[in-house]
Symmetry: D2
Subunit: 97 residues, 4 copies
């Protein structure tokens, strides 16, 4: 079953990423309130930058874990090529790690 | 009152950014569920990329509106210099527009 | 003559940006030699990251100078709107400051 | 000899990356002349964006080739872990693919 992710092999990382995503979601709720309340633009930009930072770190940790498990398994089973291509195709759309 | 943002001068943009932020927050909730459910890493990465895209467009529209209003007013009143410096300092931390 | 840039109003910044661009070009020459000589991939990636860093800082300083001069002049003459739109359109294509 | 890069295993890609880096260097020379000649800031920004685009594509192709060869070899020899960590550490500093 290749479409199962790698995070079940790293429960600690899984918990950590889940917390990061929830923190980012909490920031976004706050950003929504700032927009509603006509907060100062630069203060909103700083909050958006904070969320971007969290998402970048989350994506990086996830891509690394994916390489450590899914890509590694695929290489060990002799079909690493397509997994590697798939990963870098996805990384292209990530704005930043 | 310089710390009021520019969005009250652009109610349509304000509504639009608010919707974008809520869509991004909805995506993040979905990403949290994907992580919990051991979804495939590359599928999660694509969702994170989608949120990064929305946040980038939100930040860009906000920075442009800020320039169109707050920075412009500051320039008209003769103290544009500090507003411009403040804006570009904030842009430095945004990962991407 | 609107198509003249802002750097002639800031000779010190102009010299500084020119030096940065030349340093970046020197790095690129080195990167070319590394590729020719089969240098280690990660070492090449680090050099590319260094050039990206220089270019990002150059772009940011230039965009800020542009705002301080060209955009400000346009605002003072009452046609800031189009200049601001033009700037943010260009910033969209910059990968990172 | 682990510090040899992967590009000697992909001569076509090697030639291609070398050409890209030379094109980027040519652009930088042009950007230097634009700065010297007080070219319009937004035109310079567009050229910088073009170079950033080339460098991003070069870095991405190189990182993918590195994974396809150096990282794969390391995994096959049982020490993939450190290679993967090294790669993602380097990717952190790349501004954008």
């Amino acid at each position: 079953m290749e479409r199962i992710g790698s995070l079940h092999e790293e429960p600690m990382l899984k918990g950590q990423l889940l917390r990061q995503v929830r923190i980012a979601a909490g920031h976004l709720t706050g950003i929504g309130k700032m927009i509603e309340g006509d907060a100062y633009c630069v203060d909103i930009l700083k909050q958006i930058a904070a969320v971007q930072g969290i998402l970048g770190r989350t994506a990086r940790a996830l891509a690394e874990s994916h390489t450590r498990h899914c890509v590694r398994h695929a290489i060990e089973e002799g079909h690493g090529e397509e997994k590697i291509e798939e990963l870098f195709e996805a990384l292209k759309y990530l704005r930043h790690f």
